[in-house]
C-alpha cells in the first residue's frame, strides 16, 4: 500500500506528529529503527515541562515551548501519562546571579508565561523548604512541571496506533527514492515502505536521514547530559523543580522531583563526537553532586540508585529546524529538537501537521476518533479494596513481581502484550526494575513472563533489542575445561 505520510523516528517529535495525524482520514506509518519507541533521545531526558522563560520569542523553540506547555493538561486527561505541574523555581546565590534572574523574569513576562513571579529569599524558602538557606532570591513559574517522558511517548504511540497509525520498529532507513510523487523507503534489512509525504524526526540522525532523501545538508551535534537518580525514600526530594541560574549553553544542573516519586539530579551539558556515547563518568557525577548540593544540601550519594546519559541533538544555531524541505519534495524536517523539545512536542505535532497541509496533504477529520486511552491500573496507585476487585477479575493483579516499585504480573503481561518484549521495554512501560534494587530480584522473573507470553526462549531475550542479549545460552551449552577446573572439593 501507499501511505499518505511516513514519519521517521518514534521519539517525542515523531510520536506527537503521528498522533496528531491519526485524527485525520490518512494512512500514516511510524518508522523506528530501535526495538521500541522512545528509546533514543526521548528516553534519557530530564522529564521537565518547561515554563517558557528560558528562551526569547525570536526563536521557534520558545514559541512552540509556550504553546506546548499549555497543552499538557488536555493531553494527560486523554492519554493518562504521569505529569504534575510542580512549578519551577530558579535560585540565585549572588547579586550577579540576580541580574540574570531579572532578565529571565522579564523574558518570561514578555513571553506571556502565566503567574511568573520574582521572589526574595523568604518567598523562595516558603516555596521550597529544602532549598539551601543561603539563597538570596530568584524567580518562580507555577506552570512548569515534570513528566515521565517515555510514558508520554508510549501513550502517544498507543493512541496513534489505536487510531490507525501503523508502527514499524526495527526499521532503519537506508535508502530513499521518489517516483510519480511517491517516496520509496527501504530499510537496512530490505523492507520497503511507500509514502507520499515524509516527516524526518530522526533525532540525532536527522542529518543522515536528510541526506538519504537528498534534502538539506546540515549537521546534528550530540551534546551529552548525564543524570543521576535518587531513591524515592531520599530526604532531598524537593516539592518543585529547582534550577540554578543558567549558563551560556544549558539551563544548568537541576534537582527534579520526578512525576513518579523519585528524585533526579542533572543534566550535564558537554559536546561529544560519538552519537552512541551515552556513558556516564565519575568526574561528572562529582560535578553534579557539588552543583546540586549548593541548591539542596540534603542530596546524598547514599541515595543513588542509578545513572544514565542522554544526547541532545543540537543544530548549529541552537534552534529547532522545523520546515518543509526546499530541496526534497513533500519532505518535512523536524531536526535539532533539543531542550525544550519535550515541552514543545505537542505543538511540534500540530506545527508539522500544518506544514503538511500547506504542502498539499488533504486533512479530513475522522468521524470516529478514539480520544481517550483506556485508563491503566497500577497496583501502586490502587486502594486495597480496588485491588481486591481487580484480583477477582484476574489473579495476576495481586502477584507482585517487582517489589521495589510494587509492579504486578498483570501490569507486566499487559506491557508484553502491547509489544514491549525487551527487558527495558517492560521496565520503561511498567517501572518494573526501576527501583532501588535495579532489577536484582525481579529481572529473572520478568524474563520468565516475557518468555511465557511471547514463546521466545529466556536465553534469547534482549535488554533493548539488537545485540543486547541477556544470556549466552543454557547451562551445559559451554564446554568445561576440566584440566583447569581442579579442586573445589566437598562442593
Amino acid at each position: 500500500m501507499i501511505y499518505d505520510v511516513a514519519v521517521i523516528g518514534a521519539g517525542v517529535s515523531g510520536a506527537s506528529t503521528a498522533w496528531r495525524l491519526s485524527r485525520y482520514q490518512l494512512h500514516t506509518v511510524l518508522l523506528e529503527w530501535r526495538s521500541d519507541v522512545g528509546f533514543g533521545v526521548s528516553k534519557a531526558n530530564s522529564g521537565i515541562v518547561h515554563a517558557g522563560f528560558h528562551h526569547p520569542l525570536s526563536t521557534l523553540k520558545a514559541r512552540l515551548e509556550i504553546r506546548g506547555n499549555l497543552m499538557f493538561e488536555a493531553l494527560q486527561h486523554e492519554l493518562g501519562f504521569p505529569f504534575r505541574r510542580t512549578g519551577i523555581l530558579v535560585a540565585a546565590f549572588s547579586r550577579e546571579e540576580m541580574v540574570t534572574v531579572h532578565k529571565l523574569y522579564e523574558q518570561g513576562i514578555a513571553n506571556g508565561v502565566p503567574g511568573m513571579e520574582m521572589c526574595g529569599r523568604e518567598r523562595l524558602l516558603q516555596l521550597e523548604k529544602k532549598l539551601n538557606p543561603e539563597v538570596v532570591g530568584g524567580c518562580f513559574a507555577p506552570g512548569g512541571g515534570t513528566i515521565e517522558p517515555y510514558r508520554y511517548v508510549f501513550s502517544l504511540v498507543e493512541s496513534a496506533t489505536r487510531n490507525g497509525v501503523c508502527l514499524k520498529c526495527d526499521f532503519e532507513v537506508a535508502e530513499a527514492s521518489r517516483a510519480e510523487d511517491v517516496w520509496r523507503i527501504r530499510s537496512s534489512s530490505g523492507a520497503e515502505v511507500r509514502a507520499r509525504y515524509v516527516v524526518n524526526a530522526a533525532g540525532l540522525f536527522a542529518d543522515r536521514v536528510s541526506g538519504i532523501f537528498g534534502a538539506e545538508e546540515f549537521t546534528i551535534r550530540p551534546r551529552k547530559g548525564e543524570e543521576y537518580l535518587l531513591d524515592r525514600s531520599s530526604a532531598a526530594r524537593p516539592e518543585r523543580v529547582v534550577f540554578p541560574v543558567p549558563g551560556a549553553h544549558s539551563k544548568g544542573v537541576l534537582v527534579i522531583p520526578t512525576a513518579e516519586g523519585t528524585t533526579m539530579i542533572g543534566p550535564t551539558s558537554d559536546a561529544v563526537d560519538d552519537k552512541f556515547d551515552t556513558a556516564a563518568s565519575a568526574e561528572q557525577m562529582q560535578r553534579i553532586l557539588s552543583h546540586v548540593r549548593n541548591l539542596i544540601p540534603g542530596v546524598s550519594p547514599r541515595d543513588l540508585i542509578t545513572s544514565f546519559a542522554g544526547l541532545r541533538p543540537v543544530m548549529d544555531n541552537e534552534d529547532f529546524y522545523i520546515a518543509l524541505s526546499e530541496k526534497a519534495p513533500a519532505f518535512v524536517q523536524v531536526a535539532g529538537i533539543q531542550s525544550p523539545g519535550l515541552t514543545a512536542s505537542p505543538a511540534i505535532g500540530e506545527y508539522v501537521k500544518d506544514l503538511l497541509k500547506s504542502a498539499g496533504l488533504p486533512l479530513l477529520e475522522k468521524v470516529h476518533f478514539a480520544v481517550e486511552l483506556a485508563p491503566r491500573h497500577e497496583v501502586r496507585h490502587e486502594s486495597p479494596a480496588a485491588l481486591d476487585r481487580l484480583h477477582s477479575g484476574n489473579p495476576a493483579w495481586t502477584h507482585i513481581v517487582c517489589r521495589c516499585e510494587k509492579i504486578s504480573e498483570a501490569e507486566i503481561v499487559e506491557a508484553v502484550r502491547k509489544g514491549h518484549t525487551t527487558l527495558d521495554g517492560v521496565k520503561f512501560y511498567t517501572r518494573a526494575g526501576m527501583g532501588r534494587c535495579q532489577g536484582g530480584f525481579c529481572a529473572a522473573r520478568i524474563m520468565r513472563i516475557i518468555s511465557r507470553e511471547t514463546g521466545i526462549p529466556m536465553e534469547e531475550l534482549t535488554k533493548k533489542g539488537g545485540n543486547s542479549r541477556l544470556a549466552a545460552g543454557r547451562l551445559g551449552d559451554l564446554p568445561v575445561n576440566t584440566a583447569e577446573v581442579r579442586g573445589g572439593e566437598g562442593a
Binding site: 543521576y228 525514600s233 556515547d277 551515552t278 556513558a279 556516564a280 565519575a282 557525577m285 543513588l304 540508585i305 542509578t306 545513572s307 544514565f308 497496583v379 486495597p384 479494596a385 481486591d388 484480583h391 477477582s392 489473579p395 495481586t398 502477584h399 507482585i400 517489589r403 521495589c404 510494587k406 504480573e409 527487558l423 534494587c437 535495579q438 532489577g439 536484582g440 530480584f441 529481572a443 529473572a444 520468565r448 529466556m458 536465553e459 534482549t462 535488554k463 533493548k464 539488537g466 543486547s468 542479549r469 541477556l470 544470556a471 549466552a472 545460552g473 543454557r474 547451562l475 551449552d477 559451554l478 568445561v480 575445561n481 583447569e484 577446573v485 581442579r486 579442586g487 573445589g488 562442593a491
Partner: protein, 421 residues
C-alpha cells in the same frame, strides 16, 4: 472481599531467620504465621547450591537448599502456618494498637493480617552498579552476583561466556567458582580494598583453586559496550584514588557486582521503625524489639551476617524474647544504651537491660591477627576477649553474662590491636 485474619505472631520472610524464629514461637504454642513472596520456603538459600552451610547449627556440612529444607521442616513440624506467594505491601499500627500488615497474593487477593507481635525477617538485597555509580555505558551483561546466581542455579541460564567480578564479597567469590564450573571464564575479581571482602575459606576454595586472579586495591573505572558488555577498564588505586594512567582493559561480556548487601527495611521505615545508619537495620534493644513496640527484627534485615548459622541462632534468641513479651514481661523500659568506639563499625543490640545476659554482635573496621575486644562501663572494663583473626568480613560476638552487666549506665565496646603487632 478483603480477607482478614489474626495471629499471635506474624513473621515476614521465610529465609533462615523467619523460619527459625517462627519455629521457636510455634513450639511454645503460639499461633504463628510466616508470610513470604516466594512460592517455597528458604529465601535466598535456595539458590545457594554450594556447600558450607550448617557446620555450626546442624553440626554437618549442607548446601543452601538442604539447610533451607531442614529449617523449613522444623517449622512445619512445630505447627507454623505459611502463606507463600504473598507480598507484604504495608505494615501499620491500627487505632486499637494492633499491628496489621496488608499482603497481596495471586491465590487470595488482598489480605489483612493482624498480630500481637511482628517479626521482621526480610533479609537484605545486593548493592547494585547504580548504587556505586560505576562509570561507563549501560549494556546487557551487567548483573549483581546474586541475580546471576539465580539465573544460573534456578533458571539454568548462562549469564555470559567471559566474566569480570567487581567486589570480593562472598556471593561474588562463590559465583567465580560457579561460573567456572559452568564453562564461563572468569578473568579477574577486582577489589578496591587491600584485603578481600569475603571469607578467607572462599578466597582459597573459589579463587585460588581455580587460578582466578584477585586484584586487590584495584577499581573498575569503566564499562564498555553498546548492546552487550565488550570490556571493562580497571585501574590500580593509590590512596583510594584510581591511577587512570595505569588503567588496563579486560575483554569480557559479563560483569558481576558483589559489592555489599543492604538490609531491606523500606517496609520497616514506613512503619515508623528507626534505623541504624551503621547497619542499615533497625535499632533494637536487648529483646530485639525495634523502636515500635511489638515489632521485632532478626537476621540479615537487622544486620548483614557472615553465616546462615548465626542468622538462625540470632532468630531463635529473638523469638524467645518475643515469647517473653507475649507472656507479659515489660518492654524496653529500663534499658541503657550500647555504643561502639574505636575500630568497630557497629554493635547489635543497641540497648541492654541490667542483670540480663546478652550476646552482642560486631563488625570490625580493621584487619589484624591479634585483636582485643573490650566492654567498658562507667570507666571499668567488664570483660575483654582476644581474637586471633579479625577481618571486616567476619562477624565478632561477645557474650556478657548478667552477673557482669548489673549496673545501669552506658555500655561501650572497643577493639584494640594486640601488643605484639
Amino acid at each position: 472481599m478483603i480477607q482478614e485474619e489474626k495471629y499471635e505472631v506474624a513473621v515476614i520472610g521465610a529465609g533462615a531467620a523467619g523460619l527459625c524464629a517462627a519455629t521457636v514461637c510455634a513450639s511454645a504454642g503460639r499461633n504463628t504465621l510466616v508470610v513470604d513472596r516466594e512460592e517455597h520456603p528458604g529465601g535466598i538459600l535456595r539458590q545457594c547450591i554450594h556447600s558450607g552451610f550448617g557446620l555450626r547449627y546442624f553440626k554437618e556440612e549442607l548446601t543452601g537448599p538442604e539447610y533451607a529444607e531442614r529449617v523449613a521442616e522444623k517449622a512445619e513440624r512445630a505447627g507454623v502456618r505459611f502463606r507463600f506467594g504473598t507480598t507484604v505491601v504495608s505494615i501499620r499500627r491500627e487505632e486499637n494498637g494492633m499491628l496489621a500488615i496488608t499482603a497481596l497474593s495471586a491465590a487470595e487477593g488482598v489480605r489483612i493480617i493482624r498480630a500481637d507481635a511482628l517479626i521482621l525477617a526480610m533479609g537484605c538485597r545486593e548493592r547494585s552498579r547504580g548504587n556505586l555509580a560505576v562509570p561507563g555505558s549501560r549494556p546487557a551483561g551487567v548483573f549483581t552476583a546474586g541475580a546471576a546466581q539465580r539465573l544460573l542455579n534456578i533458571e539454568g541460564i548462562l549469564p555470559g561466556k567471559k566474566a569480570v567480578i567487581a567486589g570480593s564479597g562472598d556471593i561474588g567469590l562463590i559465583m567465580a567458582r560457579r561460573l567456572t564450573w559452568a564453562g564461563i571464564r572468569v578473568e579477574a575479581v577486582v577489589e578496591i580494598m587491600p584485603y578481600p571482602a569475603g571469607l578467607t575459606r572462599n578466597i582459597v576454595q573459589c579463587l585460588d583453586d581455580f587460578h582466578i586472579p584477585l586484584l586487590l586495591e584495584h577499581s573498575l573505572v569503566n564499562i564498555l559496550g553498546h548492546g552487550r558488555v565488550e570490556a571493562v577498564e580497571v585501574a590500580p588505586l593509590s590512596r583510594g584514588v584510581p591511577v587512570t594512567e595505569r588503567k588496563f582493559r579486560i575483554d569480557c561480556d559479563t560483569v558481576l557486582f558483589s559489592v555489599g548487601l543492604i538490609p531491606e527495611n523500606e517496609l520497616s521505615a514506613e512503619a515508623g521503625v528507626e534505623l541504624n545508619p551503621a547497619t542499615g537495620g533497625p535499632l533494637v534493644d536487648s529483646s530485639y524489639e525495634t523502636g515500635v513496640p511489638g515489632i521485632f527484627a532478626c537476621g540479615n534485615v537487622l544486620h548483614v551476617h557472615d553465616l546462615a548459622d548465626f542468622v538462625s541462632e540470632e532468630a531463635e534468641h529473638a523469638a524467645r524474647m518475643v515469647l517473653r513479651r507475649l507472656d507479659g514481661s515489660s518492654g524496653g523500659s529500663g534499658q541503657f544504651p550500647v555504643r561502639v568506639e574505636s575500630n568497630l563499625k557497629y554493635v547489635v543490640p543497641n540497648r541492654f537491660l541490667p542483670g540480663c545476659g546478652t550476646r552482642f554482635a560486631f563488625r570490625s573496621l580493621i584487619v589484624c591477627d591479634d585483636g582485643v575486644l573490650e566492654a567498658e562501663q562507667n570507666g571499668k572494663i567488664l570483660l575483654s576477649k582476644r581474637f586471633s583473626c579479625v577481618r571486616p568480613a567476619e562477624m565478632l560476638t561477645l557474650e556478657l553474662p548478667g552477673s557482669l552487666l548489673k549496673e545501669p549506665g552506658e555500655l561501650r565496646f572497643r577493639l584494640r590491636k594486640g601488643e605484639e603487632i
